[in-house]
């Protein structure tokens, strides 16, 4: 099991604001800090999604025509 991430990872407010701007989003001033902190928590957990996955260890499963071919 990988080490646990910190509960509230420090975040770079300017970097997260820039990422939102790149997506066309400018949070209202009165909500901005909480928005960035919430996003930082989500981003801080994304490392859990990435695990060693040998090529060929999983089937292609994103798309199936099964329901139209039976």
């Amino acid at each position: 099991m990988p080490p646990k991430p910190p509960q509230d990872p420090p975040f770079d407010l300017d970097a997260i604001a820039a990422r939102f701007r790149a997506q066309g989003i400018v949070p209202p001033d009165d909500r901005a800090h909480g928005t960035y902190a919430n996003a930082a928590r989500m981003l801080g957990n994304l490392h859990w999604l990435r695990r060693p996955r040998p090529l060929g260890a999983e089937p292609a499963h994103m798309m199936s025509l099964k329901e139209w071919t039976e």
Partner: protein, 475 residues
């Protein structure tokens, strides 16, 4: 003539159904008992965003007329219920508890409502929710958040907040909720009700406003397991209008409900939560006690392991936020202040997920699902799992901004799509409820309910009701 409790809302759905069919009560009197309780309690509990009194009385009179004419539409005929306000209702406001949809009046019923209506149920109204089933409890919306009937200073959790509060307060025996990461089971835990997240695909979501398509489930919250089983009999089944709906037979959820659990193999996921920083001693004591009671009832109980919670949690949130953001993208950009503060802050975070993040989450979802069904749910019939690891928090502990979700371990079974039953197991030192989950293999709701019913009957927890002064006045 059989004797009935002074408060008819204490009748179970089965008891009320028997009384209605024997003619010892009418749906009108049963409905008026619910409406009386709502009138007394709603000013402090805030469970509803819209009571539908005229509709309820009309439904009740129709049910009574049907009974008089020998028409029996099934076990919900004449029984009051209510809907979380993300369930579309024809001609009746469906707001998602959001200022954005304050005037939204759908043209058609969602499929669940259509089934309850066709089954002769009595619709009492639309219940409060965290905004769009994600942001709350919020005080910056057109209607205040529901309060916990066990202690009005405490929250209900969410997002099916009004559903849990209404059932716990005794306004009705059953209310519909939805669950994307725990939105049936969390409120059920904090308010001391039963709550079932059925198997993904068991109950249609058509007409239920989505939070995240691939994680959303619709299901009931109720006073008892039997109430839930009866409801499931009415609302389950294949629906071609819901692309995720499963074309599988609907079993008889009631016939084996009281068959006991002798020989049932229960896997207790103790290692899964024992190191969780949110775990309280009283929750651990309650869960250990539940495991012991299940063993005393004849089940084989032993400890099983699951992949780390953090994996499920990251997977659940990445998919949830990505799908939710896709639904709300345009409005978040153009009308940010139309959302309450909490909903906005949660929903907009999905903008920062990359395509690779989402695909990695989907890959992980498949791996975790396989790990559960090939692991503990291959060697065991059901799992005993934690729900909330603490009792409900206080409103005055809520910060100004959307906080992190922690200590409610329900999301893993949205990831796996498993049927998961929230079951009251006791009370904390502050008098607020504690809860566990009984989790089964896909479409094994009948077994999950059977285990829940056996535990419920032996534990006696549901006999304890909120004792707020305002509640006793309303009885």
């Amino acid at each position: 003539m059989s004797a009935h409790p002074a408060d008819l809302t204490d009748l179970s759905i089965a008891e009320a159904g028997a009384a209605l069919r024997s003619g010892t009560i009418t749906s009108r009197t049963l409905t008026e008992a619910s409406l009386k309780k709502i009138a007394a309690l709603e000013p402090v509990v805030n469970a509803f965003v819209l009571p539908t009194i005229e509709r309820a009385l009309h439904d009740a009179e129709q049910a009574d007329a049907d009974f008089a004419n020998g028409v029996d539409k099934g076990p919900m005929q004449g029984i009051p219920y209510a809907l979380k306000d993300i369930f579309s209702t024809a001609g009746i406001r469906t707001t998602c508890h959001s200022n954005l949809l304050r005037d939204n009046i759908p043209a058609a019923d969602c499929v669940v409502e259509a089934k309850l209506r066709a089954g002769g149920g009595v619709m009492l109204g639309k219940l409060g929710t965290f905004e769009f089933a994600i942001g709350g409890p919020s005080f910056d919306l057109f209607s205040p958040p529901a309060r916990n009937p066990w202690n009005l200073e405490h929250t209900t959790s969410g997002s099916s907040s009004g559903s849990a509060a209404a059932v716990a307060a005794g306004m009705m025996r059953m209310a519909m909720g939805s669950d994307t990461g725990g939105s049936i089971r969390g409120p059920a835990a904090f308010c001391g009700t039963v709550g079932l997240k059925p198997t993904y695909g068991r109950v249609s979501r058509h007409g239920v406003y989505p939070l995240a398509f691939s994680l959303d489930h619709a299901g009931p919250l109720s006073r008892t397991v039997e109430d839930t089983a009866i409801t499931m009999q009415v609302i389950s089944g294949y629906d071609p209008l819901d692309p995720a709906s499963a074309d599988v037979p609907v079993p008889d959820f009631l016939s084996g409900l009281n068959a006991g659990i002798s020989g049932i193999r229960v896997g207790y996921t103790r290692k899964f939560f024992i190191d969780n920083p949110s775990l309280t001693n009283e929750a651990l004591t309650g869960l250990d006690g539940a495991a012991e009671l299940l063993a005393k009832l004849g089940a084989t109980v032993d400890e099983v392991d699951m992949p780390p919670f953090e994996l499920f949690d990251a997977c659940n949130r990445a998919i949830l936020f990505a799908e939710a953001y896709a639904i709300h993208e345009e409005t978040l950009k153009t009308r940010p202040h139309a959302y309450g503060r909490y909903a906005y802050q949660h929903l907009v975070s999905g903008a920062l997920l990359s395509g690779a993040d989402v695909v990695q989450a989907q890959r992980l979802r498949r791996e975790l699902t396989a790990a559960v069904y090939n692991g503990p749910l291959a060697s065991h019939d059901v799992l005993l799992a934690p729900n909330a690891l603490m009792t409900a928090g206080r409103f005055d502990e809520m910060g100004p901004d959307a906080g992190k979700w922690s200590g409610i371990l329900t999301g893993p079974f949205n990831v796996t799509g498993s049927p998961a039953l929230a079951l009251p197991i006791g009370f904390g030192a502050n008098g607020l409820p504690l809860s566990a989950q009984i989790v089964g293999r896909p479409f094994a709701e009948a077994l999950v309910l059977r285990v829940g019913a056996a535990f419920e009957a032996a534990a006696g927890v549901v006999a304890h009701r909120p004792t707020l002064p305002v509640l006793s006045k309303a009885a």
